[in-house]
Structure formats: structure tokens, C-alpha cells
């Protein structure tokens, strides 16, 4: 579809010099709004932010077209700027790297980012500090771009923490309500717990490979620079590695050396080989210094690294056990929920795993864990979503659940499908959130679905687009959501056929049940909001109106993508034969199947099953809520399961009781017991001892002659007695 643009894009060299503009535009937008926004009119502040996002998108699009212009066999665009951190254990620079994988993400980030900026101009039009909102939003884009385009894992970490900061600031945007600020803080802290895992992952990578770069530094050449790749010399069968190899060079070399047959796992005895570099044929010794206490098996270390990194991903991508921050994050303005907490930031965990997928592919244990956590999260969050009353809360739990599907895909070894679901989910979930925002906007900030209903006539555009989004989320065949979800589940079933590991079957069933729940709660939302009678007050009813064009336009664009995204982009991600197409389109090598037909045999039963559960879920929702039914108050319900689901299975309360409360109590106890009583007691006690001791001694000096005479006499007698005893 990009053929018509290709002739118009600049040369590789020109693009390399322009790449920096992708993060720079939003950063400048942030500075302008942040420093001078206070003096701007509201529309102008929004305009600055939106233009910054759009400009970034345009540059990104040109770069992506170049990267995907496979006819010329072009590799990724890679530019390295100044050195950032140089130590004796590793060194890294500020560098941007657009390869086929990051190009998908960068388009999602800047593209959907632009749409949501546009939407926000309408949504936030009446807010007191629009400029601050757009400053944060631009800063978020900047950080997200660093995360996606960073050429080393430390840059990814910069973006990773940076988007966390923006998330914190934007959740607490309306900080005057303490609840919002608390939600922001919770998001930051829970993310930090995950970041600890990420940090440990980076540390082990440095310990094992001695580098944080993904690929080696680019080499200047004719018409632009090239990043040397790791390859297998066809003649000598030797692995040729570039100078200063990056992480992906190491994994590729390991794959070429050890992964001969269909098995993807690294043998227990694998070692980092000494590589022959290209051209000069000199060997590079690998700075491998596995610290004591980490074991000495490379395969084991890689598993450990992958698990650490995945813990990082569970934080940012809201998986069990760290998903609790995301539902609370809905305290932020709705465009923020759409951009950060649905379409982009929360998918960075998936992106990070895919960035290092060649490492994860070595560890079956880690992949199984990822698959399991994904399946558990998908199901658990879907169960909670069934009973929520707040329209944004339903969508929030749905996001957690859908992120779970992405991890199921990754864990099943279908990395490309994980990214595909990131893409389609970005379309339909951003759409649903923006639609919900439009509804909330129309309903004078009402979010309780019990007070909605019958809006389909009054908000025709919102209704039509949200219906499309809901169909995609429910996984109705033909929609974009169906393409990605169906294929993920098929891969899991295929994995079961392939390995006969019953765990995969369990994960598959969990995925199917979750799909049923998804269809149900999605259409429960649709029926409660748009059908039946309007249950709001007269005052609110009076104000109901369709949103301005700035808000409707993004809805329409996203609805188109949510509907047709599967047809448009599916070919890039879905593989007919494992190990081929995805690599060509995405530079992702999915974990191969032992038997090629395992996957094919899974497709048909899976297709039938997912189709049935989607329709069943929608049908049940129609049966229950189609005529605008009333919802029982969950708090008063006698059904314990219903009540537990509404109360999120009390996870927050359990964490409070098990972690937060003990931490507070122990801190307080230590403060009094240790610091004040014990240590200061000892210190001040010693001082007291000296003082009291001297006042005792002071009394000896009485000034009375007879006392002194008596003391001298007793001393002499005692000394004489001592001498007598000693002589004997």
C-alpha cells in the first residue's frame, strides 16, 4: 500500500540525518508548551502539541517506507550520536535504530499519538491548564520514541522509565483530587517493582555479554551507513560476527552455532564461542565474566535473564501479579487512557520481549512462563471485566486481558503475532477509549453505565464507531481483532499438537474462556450504553450532544483501521510456514514447529471454537442486557462470585494486607525500636555514663584532710597486704 509514497521519500543519507527529528519534534513541543504554554490560548497550546506529533509521524513514515522497501534489500536505519555512558564493563551511546520491528511500533506510537492529540484538542478544550496537558503528552511521545527507537537496552530503559514518569504525571493530571494523585503514585511504584526485574535483566546481560547495544555500530558507506550483520559464511560454514558485536549479534551467532535442527532451546553445555570476524578473520575474545553466584551454564543464565526482563514487562504491561495499577490509572483524562494505558505504553513490555526475541527463543522455560502468566492474566482480568459498572474500568480490565493475549502469543513462540495484536489492539482499544471519552463528554462526565443507555440516536458517530471497535474486541471473524487473536490461540493449540505438553492445552482453554468473557462484557457495555432507555437525570439528558469534529475524525479513522486492519496488515505478521514470512517483514524469527502440520491442524478447530464463543458471548449479552436491562447492585448481591468479581477479587486488599501494611508497621517499629531506643539509647547512654561517672568521681575530691589521710592509710595497708601475699 505504500508503493505510491516510495518514490517521494528522501535518500538514505538524508533520512539518517532527519531521523533525529522523530524524537526532537515532540521534545521541542514539550519545551514550548512547558516553558511558555501558560501564556498561550487554549487552542494554540493544543495546536502546538498536535503539530509536533504530526511532524514526528511524517518523518517516521518516511523512514519506515525506506526500511520496508525490500526491493532494495535495505537494512535498518541506524544512527549513533554522542557517547552516553562509558565504563569498563560496557559502553553505550545515544543512538536511534529503525528496523522492521521498531518501524511497526513507531508508526503506532506517532500515528495513534497524533490522532489522540487531535482528539484531545476537543476533549480538553475546557480544561484550566491545556498547555500542561499537551506538554506532558508531547513528553510522553518523546520518551516512547526513545523506548522504541533506542539502539541499546539502556536507551530503551530511559524511555521505559520516562513513559512511566509521564504516566504518573498524566494520571495525576487533575491533582487536586487526592485520589488521582494516589493512582499516579501507585502506577509509578508498581512499575518500579517491575523495573527492578528489568534492571536485574540488564545487569545479567552486561555480566554475560558485556554489552547493552542491540547491534553493532553503523559503518559509513556509499549513500548512507550500514549496520554489519552476523552471518554464516556459505563456503567455510564459519559464523561471521562484526566488530563490537551487539546483543542480537550474539544471539544470532549462538543460533547459527547451536540450533541445528528444529529444536530452539540452547543446549545445556552451550558456551559463547570465539567468533571469527568478517574480513580480517581475526578472533574476538568475548568479555564473558559470569559473576559468582549466578551459576555457570549459559543456557541457565539466559533463562534467568529472560525471566528478569519479563518481570519488567509484567510491570509496564500490567500482567499478574503487577496489573493492579492499570485499572486505577483510569483516573487520568480519557485521551491519556487511550494513548498511554491502551495503545502504546502498556504494550512496551511486549515490544521489549520482541526486541530481544532471539534471546527468549533460547529458553523454553521462560517462554512457558510467559505463556502461562499471559493466559492467567487474560482470564482473570476478563472475569473482573464482566461485572464492572464504570465504562472506563471495563475497558481497563479488557486492556489487561488483551495484553495477556499478547503474552500468550509471545510465550507460544509467535512473536510476530504478539506484535500483530499490539497493532490491532491499538486500533480498536484506542477507538473504544476515545468513544467512551466521547460518551463521558456527552454525559457531563458521568462514567457509571447504570446512568447511561439509549445513546445510539443521540451520538450516532460515536455509536457506529464504538460498535465496530466492540466487534473487533469481541473477536468477530473478519475484524482486525479476530485476525490477531484467532491466530494467537491457534498457535497455542498448534504448540500443544506439536509438543503434547498439557500446559499448552490448559493455556488454550483459558484463552478460549477469556474470549467468551470478552465478547460478553464488550457487548454488555454496548447494550448498557447505547440501547434501551436513557437512565440519566433530566439535567444531564439536556446536555447530551455529539462531539466536535476534532473528536469524531480520530474515531472514524480508527474505526476504519479496527475493521480493516486485519486485511491490510495481516500478511506481515501471520505465517503460513514457520520461520519465513515474519522474518522478511518484521525481522522476527518465530520459534519453529517440530512438525509443520501441527499448526495447520490447529487452525480449523480453533476457528470454529473462537467463532462460536464470540457469538455466544454477544448473544448472552443481548439476552441479558439487549433490552436495556437493569443491573443489580453488586454490593448487595448475594452471589459471592459476582460480588468478588465486582471487587476485583480483593487483590488490592490482599496486597495491602500482605505487603503495604507490614511494610508500614515494620518501618515504624524499626524507627522507634532500632533508631531511637537501641542505637540512640546506646549512644546517649554512653554519654550519660561518662557524665554520671565523672560526677561520682567528683565527690572523691572533698577537700577534707582527714578523708584524704584515711584514704592514704587504707591504700598503704592494702598495698602491704598485697606484698605479703605475693612474697608468700
Amino acid at each position: 500500500m505504500m508503493e505510491w509514497i516510495v518514490p517521494h521519500i528522501p535518500s538514505r543519507e538524508a533520512l539518517e540525518s532527519k531521523m533525529v527529528l522523530i524524537p526532537l519534534f515532540p521534545f521541542v513541543g514539550f519545551l514550548i508548551n512547558g516553558l511558555f504554554g501558560r501564556t498561550f490560548s487554549k487552542p494554540f497550546a493544543g495546536f502546538v502539541g498536535t503539530v509536533a506529533a504530526l511532524s514526528s509521524f511524517v518523518v517516521a513514515l518516511m523512514c519506515v517506507c525506506h526500511v520496508h522497501d525490500t526491493e532494495l534489500g535495505r537494512a535498518g536505519l541506524h544512527v549513533s550520536y554522542a557517547k552516553w555512558l562509558v565504563t569498563s564493563d560496557f559502553s553505550c551511546s545515544f543512538g536511534l535504530y529503525i528496523d522492521k520491528l521498531s518501524s511497526v511500533m513507531i508508526l503506532v506510537v506517532t500515528g495513534i499519538g497524533t490522532l489522540i492529540h487531535l482528539y484531545s484538542m476537543g476533549y480538553m478544550a475546557h480544561d484550566r491548564s491545556v498547555w500542561r496537558f499537551f506538554a506532558y503528552l508531547n513528553l510522553f511521545l518523546f520518551m516512547m520514541i526513545l523506548l522504541v527507537l533506542g539502539d541499546n537496552i539502556l536507551m530503551t530503559f530511559v524511555g521505559w522509565e520516562g513513559v512511566g514518569l509521564c504516566s504518573y504525571l498524566l494520571i495525576g493530571f487533575w491533582y487536586e483530587e487526592s485520589k488521582n494523585a494516589a493512582a499516579g503514585m501507585k502506577a509509578f511504584v508498581v512499575n518500579r517493582i517491575g523495573d527492578l526485574g528489568f534492571l536485574m535483566g540488564i545487569f545479567t546481560l552486561i555480566a554475560v555479554f558485556g554489552t547493552v547495544n542491540y547491534v553493532t555500530a553503523p559503518v559509513k558507506g556509499e549513500g548512507g551507513s550500514v549496520t554489519p550483520q552476523t552471518t554464516l559464511d556459505a563456503k567455510t560454514k564459519a559464523v561471521v560476527v562484526p566488530q563490537n558485536p551487539g546483543l542480537l549479534d550474539y544471539t544470532e551467532a549462538l543460533r547459527l552455532t547451536y540450533i541445528k535442527d528444529e529444536h530452539s532451546e540452547l543446549p545445556e553445555k552451550a558456551e559463547l564461542p570465539k567468533f571469527a570476524t568478517g574480513g580480517e578473520k581475526n578472533t574476538v575474545s568475548i568479555p564473558m565474566s559470569i559473576p559468582k553466584g549466578l551459576g555457570n551454564s549459559l543456557a541457565g543464565l539466559i533463562t534467568l535473564t529472560c525471566i528478569c526482563l519479563f518481570i519488567g514487562a509484567t510491570g509496564k504491561s500490567a500482567q499478574i501479579p503487577l496489573f493492579v495499577w492499570l485499572p486505577d490509572a483510569m483516573a487520568g483524562p480519557t485521551p491519556v487512557s487511550a494513548l498511554i494505558h491502551a495503545a502504546t505504553m502498556v504494550t512496551s513490555g511486549i515490544y521489549m520481549v520482541c526486541r530481544l526475541h532471539s534471546l527468549f527463543a533460547f529458553s523454553e522455560t521462560a517462554l512457558l512462563l510467559i505463556c502461562g502468566v499471559g493466559a492467567a492474566t487474560a482470564l482473570f482480568a476478563a472475569l473482573i471485566g464482566l461485572t464492572q459498572l464504570d465504562i472506563k474500568k471495563v475497558l481497563a480490565y479488557s486492556t489487561v486481558s488483551q495484553l495477556g493475549y499478547m503474552f500468550i502469543g509471545l510465550g507460544a513462540g509467535a512473536f510476530s503475532l504478539g506484535i500483530f495484536h499490539v497493532l490491532t489492539h491499538a486500533f480498536f482499544k484506542a477507538l473504544l477509549f476515545l468513544g467512551a471519552g466521547s460518551v463521558i463528554h456527552a454525559m457531563s462526565n458521568e462514567q457509571d453505565m447504570r446512568k447511561m443507555g439509549g445513546l445510539k440516536g443521540k451520538l450516532p458517530w460515536t455509536f457506529a464507531t464504538m460498535l465496530i471497535g466492540s466487534l473487533a474486541l469481541a473477536g468477530v471473524p473478519g475484524t482486525s481483532g479476530w485476525f490477531s487473536k484467532d491466530n494467537i490461540l491457534a498457535t497455542v493449540l498448534g504448540r500443544y499438537n506439536d509438543t503434547h505438553n498439557n500446559l499448552y492445552l490448559v493455556f488454550y482453554i483459558m484463552g478460549i474462556v477469556a474470549a467468551f468473557c470478552t465478547a460478553f462484557y464488550t457487548f454488555r457495555l454496548v447494550f448498557l450504553t447505547f440501547f434501551g432507555e436513557n437512565r440519566s437525570s433530566e439535567e444531564v439528558k439536556h446536555h447530551i450532544h455529539e462531539s466536535p469534529w476534532t473528536m469524531v475524525l480520530p474515531l472514524v479513522v480508527l474505526a476504519f483501521l479496527a475493521l480493516a486492519g486485519g486485511f491490510l496488515f495481516g500478511g506481515m505478521f501471520i505465517e503460513e510456514k514457520s520461520g519465513g514470512e515474519a522474518f522478511e517483514h518484521l525481522a522476527i524469527r518465530n520459534v519453529p514447529f517440530h512438525e509443520e502440520h501441527s499448526l495447520h491442524e490447529a487452525h480449523t478447530p480453533n476457528l470454529i471454537l473462537t467463532g462460536i464463543v464470540a457469538l455466544l458471548g454477544i448473544g448472552l449479552a443481548f439476552f441479558r442486557y439487549g433490552k436495556g436491562g437493569n443491573i443489580p447492585d453488586p454490593e448487595k448481591s448475594n452471589n459471592l462470585v459476582y460480588k468478588a468479581s465486582f471487587n476485583k477479587f480483593y487483590v488490592d486488599e490482599i496486597y495491602d494486607a500482605l505487603i503495604v501494611f507490614p511494610f508500614c508497621v515494620i518501618s515504624e517499629l524499626l524507627h522507634w525500636g532500632m533508631d531511637i531506643i537501641l542505637i540512640d539509647g546506646l549512644v546517649c547512654g554512653a554519654a550519660e555514663l561518662v557524665r554520671n561517672g565523672s560526677s561520682l568521681l567528683k565527690r572523691i575530691q572533698t577537700g577534707l584532710m582527714n578523708t584524704y589521710a584515711f584514704a592514704i592509710l587504707s591504700g598503704t595497708v592494702a598495698f602491704l597486704i598485697y606484698l605479703l601475699i605475693k612474697v608468700q
Binding site: D89, A181, M185, L670, V683
Partner: protein, 519 residues
């Protein structure tokens, strides 16, 4: 002569002030500020023309100072006025000179009584602090080390808060206790080894030689003696850092101290401890260091977790920051004790970072205190609305303090923790929980102070930062980002010195080799 001038400049500046009258407070303030600015200018060559010689020291100078001879005319005590800086001490001197004008400017309205004496004390303090980092003669080092206590004792004791006497006495007795032990150990080392003078390099060599002497030789440094001396020095420096469990003087001193005192205490004086470990303990007692570095790493980890938990329960924002210092210095020393190049580089970098971000926090708290006369967190709430610029500054500094990437805090924390991890992964993991805990206590405080609705009427009309206050904070905020984005120049500077200090570390093979050479 550069270093001598640097040391003397603040004292020279203080001299005419003795003659001035208290009524001319404004002129005195300006004069003191100008003197510190002049010191900044004078210290710039330390950055721009730093060229270490063969022994690793730049700007070396040696002057005869004190010489005692016995009846036979043999010199038995030789104290030199020897100065010199390596990559680490030059940065710490720069930190000192950089912080001082900021501290001076922050005292502008905070100090209301006895202004003349206050500024004299500050200038004397600067001299002592520069002296500590510039001295290569250990006796001289000790003199400056102790001399820096006196002005600080006075600053807290005279211009401090309600419990200033308790706090300042505790501070002085704690630190003096440690440094007296150090003094005894220093004299022991000097006389035992029969060194020619107190020069740190010569003493190190003399100690290394004394260690290899045969058993029974009067000049031999036994393992036992080495361990006692190690503990004497280590205790002195551990109190200064401060490491758990000898940290309890710090919260009291900080809370009672006036803002400029807290700034100097946090930014510079705590660094003397870490610097002492690197400069003296590592080269002098490698065997003991090899034996105890793991123990000290554990102490640092306890300090990180314990300090964070203490910070979490504080009700006074200044005390919270003081306890966060305990945690941050724990991170810093973890890097140092990891004895890896990256860790030591990170440790030194973290010293600078802590100097910048904690000073900035103390400054901000001081500014708030000037307006409301309370530091209780519960008093505030929702003031982001009335003082947006102040809030922005506070959040930026908070981000640096909790180590957000692209701020200086991240670089220091990351490299320290990496060093710790490479040395001992389990301890590295435990220490890294500080990353979470730091966010917990800082953001919790930010939430309670700045967010939510304003409940008190007077807080609605709180005055935002004025020009002078912005000027005080601007250099620190710039440094926070500059050092987060471009740490390379610093790391390159620190590297040779760090490698030298790690190079002293003890391994059995090394000692055998030394013994062979000796024969």
C-alpha cells in the same frame, strides 16, 4: 601553588570581615558571596587544566611545615604541607567550590542574627573542606578533617533550630570520637613503619613493606595490628558517611541545622567519609579490606533498605531527606566497596549526585520553611496549585533523587548497583530494592505535600519562588540534567584514580609476588 591559593582564599576573604560591623550585614553578605565566587573561578583550572603526573596527582606541591628533631638531631616527626589532587579529589573540590556560593545565596534571608559571624564561619568551613580534599600529607588531612568540624559545630549550635545544642553536641562527639581513634591509628602506623613523613603514597609503601617483614621483626605489621588500625580508620569514616548503624547523628544534625549548614553538610562533609575509605583505607590496609569488604557491602545494603524505611515513616520533610541521605550514601558506598572499576566510578559519581540533588532538596525545604515556619508534611497538601514553579522544581529534584534516567541520579545509581551486582549478585539485587523504596518515600511525600486540595486558607496565598531563589536553584537543576546526559567526561576523569585505588586490593598471589621481590 593553585591548591594553596584555593585553601587560603576563603580565609583571606574572611579576614576583613572580622573588622566589619554587624550593621553592614548587606555588604557582608555580598562580600562573602563574592569571595566564594572568586573561589569558584580559582578552582576552574582543576577541571580545565587537570594533568596528573606520574604518581597520578596534579597540581602537586610540597612545603616544609613542622619538623621535630630529637637530641641527636634526627627528625622524628615530619609533617609537610603537601597538596595534590587526583581525578577524584579534584571533582570533590569542584563540588565544594560549586556548592558554596549557592549555600551563601540561600542564607540571604534565612540567617537573621549574627550575620557577620555566620559568613565568617562559612568561609572558614570552605577552607577546611578544600584542605581535606587537597591534602596529600595525612597529618595535614587530619588537621583539616578536624578543623571542618568546628565551624559546623558553631553553625548548627548558634543558628540552628530548637534542639540545636543536643544536635550539635551529638554531631561533634560522634565524629570526634571516630576521628580520635583514627588519629591514634595514624600515629601508630607512622611510628611503627618508621616512615619518613606522612605523605600518603610513602606511608602506603612503608605499610606494604612492613607487611612483608618476617615475624618477630619490630617493624613488622602483624595481621592483628592491621585489623585494629583498619577498624579505627573505618569507624571514623563510617561515622562520617554515615553508614548504618552509626548514622543517628545525621537526622538530628540536618533537622536542627540552618539550610546552608544542611547543604554543606550533605553536599560536602559526608563525602569526606567515602573519600577517606578510598584514599586511605584501601591503600593502607588491603588485607583487612579484602576480608571485610563483603561485610561492608552488607552494611551498605542494610543502610539502603533501613534508611529508606526510616525515611518512609518521617513526619518532618527535612528528616525524611536526611534519612534518604543514609540510603543514598549506602548506594554510593556499595559501589565503592564492590571494588570494581565501574562500581568505584559510580560511587564517586554518586557522591557528586548526592551533593547536588540532596542540597537542592534541602534548599527547597528551606525556602518553604521561610514562608510557613514548619516542615511537617501533614501541614501542607495541595500547594501545587499555589506554588507551581516551586512544585516543578521540587519534582525535578525528586526525580533526580529517585534516579530517573536522563538525570544524574540514574547514572550514579545504575553504575553503583551494577558494581555491586558484578561483585555479588544477591547483594546487588537486595540493594536494588532501594530503587523501589526511593520512589515510595519520595513520591508519597510529594503526594501529601503538593497534591490534593488545599485545606488551609494561608496556603492558598503562598508566595512562589522569587528571582534570587530561582538563581539559587538554577545551577543545580542544570547540573542534574547535564550530568545525566553527559557523564562521560566525569567517568573518564575518575577512571585512572579509581583503578589506582582498586589496584591496591589484596590478593594472595600479589602478596607472594611482593615477598619474592623483597627477597
Amino acid at each position: 601553588m593553585l591548591l594553596t591559593w584555593l585553601i587560603v582564599l576563603p580565609v583571606l576573604g574572611a579576614l576583613p570581615m572580622f573588622l566589619a560591623r554587624e550593621q553592614n550585614a548587606r555588604e557582608l553578605k555580598v562580600w562573602a558571596f563574592v569571595v566564594t565566587l572568586a573561589t569558584v573561578v580559582a578552582s576552574l583550572p582543576l577541571w580545565f587544566s587537570f594533568a596528573p603526573g606520574a604518581n597520578g596527582y596534579a597540581f602537586s606541591e610540597a612545603h616544609k611545615w613542622v619538623e621535630f628533631k630529637d637530641a641527636a638531631g634526627k627528625v622524628y616527626l615530619n609533617i609537610g604541607f603537601n597538596l595534590g589532587v587526583d581525578g577524584i579529589s579534584s571533582l570533590l573540590i569542584l563540588l565544594t567550590t560549586f556548592i558554596m556560593p549557592i549555600a551563601m545565596l540561600s542564607s540571604w534571608n534565612y540567617i537573621q542574627k549574627r550575620q557577620k559571624e555566620f559568613y565568617i564561619a562559612m568561609l572558614l568551613l570552605e577552607t577546611a573542606m578544600i584542605g581535606v580534599f587537597a591534602a596529600t600529607d595525612l597529618f595535614l588531612f587530619y588537621v583539616f578533617f578536624e578543623a571542618s568540624l568546628l565551624p559546623m559545630y558553631i553553625i548548627i549550635g548558634v543558628w540552628g533550630g530548637e534542639e540545636k545544642i543536643y544536635a550539635t553536641t551529638k554531631f561533634v562527639i560522634y565524629t570526634a570520637f571516630g576521628s580520635l581513634l583514627m588519629f591514634v591509628a595514624l600515629l601508630f602506623v607512622y611510628f611503627k613503619t618508621g616512615a619518613q613523613n606522612f605523605d600518603v603514597v610513602q606511608l602506603t609503601a612503608a605499610l606494604a613493606k612492613a607487611r612483608t617483614l618476617p615475624v618477630g621483626d619490630p617493624g613488622q605489621l602483624t595481621r592483628n595490628a592491621e585489623f585494629w588500625c583498619f577498624w579505627a580508620f573505618a569507624l571514623a569514616f563510617a561515622i562520617k558517611v554515615p553508614l548504618f548503624p552509626v548514622h543517628t547523628w545525621l537526622p538530628d544534625a540536618h533537622v536542627q541545622s540552618p539550610t546552608p549548614g544542611s547543604v554543606v553538610l550533605a553536599a560536602v562533609m559526608l563525602k569526606m567519609g567515602g573519600y577517606g575509605f578510598l584514599r586511605i583505607v584501601f591503600p593502607f590496609f588491603p588485607v583487612a579490606v579484602a576480608q571485610y569488604s563483603n561485610l561492608f557491602m552488607i552494611i551498605c545494603v542494610i543502610g539502603i533498605i533501613y534508611g529508606s524505611m526510616m525515611a518512609f515513616v518521617q513526619t518532618d520533610i527535612k528528616k525524611l531527606v536526611a534519612y534518604s541521605s543514609v540510603a543514598h550514601m549506602g548506594t554510593c558506598m556499595l559501589g565503592v566497596f564492590s571494588m570494581t572499576t565501574t562500581g568505584v566510578q559510580g560511587g564517586v559519581y554518586q557522591m557528586l549526585n548526592h551533593g547536588i540533588s540532596t542540597s537542592a532538596l534541602f534548599l527547597l525545604i528551606g525556602m518553604l520553611y521561610e514562608r510557613t515556619h514548619t516542615r511537617l508534611i501533614a501541614f501542607y497538601g495541595g500547594i501545587a496549585k499555589s506554588v507551581p514553579v516551586f512544585t516543578t522544581a521540587f519534582i525535578i529534584v525528586t526525580l533526580s533523587s529517585i534516579g530517573l534516567p536522563l538525570t544524574n541520579g540514574f547514572i550514579g545509581e545504575f553504575t553503583c548497583l551494577l558494581g555491586g551486582f558484578l561483585r555479588n549478585p544477591m547483594l546487588g539485587l537486595l540493594a536494588s530494592t532501594g530503587v523501589i523504596l526511593g520512589a515510595v518515600y519520595m513520591l508519597f511525600a510529594v503526594k501529601r505535600m503538593f497534591f490534593g486540595t488545599i485545606r488551609r486558607e494561608d496556603l492558598k496565598h503562598l508566595r512562589d519562588l522569587d528571582g534570587r531563589e530561582k538563581l539559587v536553584l538554577a545551577p543545580l537543576v542544570i547540573a542534574i540534567f547535564a550530568m545525566g546526559v553527559a557523564p562521560t567526561a566525569f567517568f573518564d576523569r575518575i577512571k585512572p584514580a579509581a583503578e589506582t585505588y582498586i589496584g591496591y586490593s589484596y590478593t594472595p598471589e600479589k602478596e607472594m609476588k611482593a615477598a619474592v621481590v623483597e627477597k
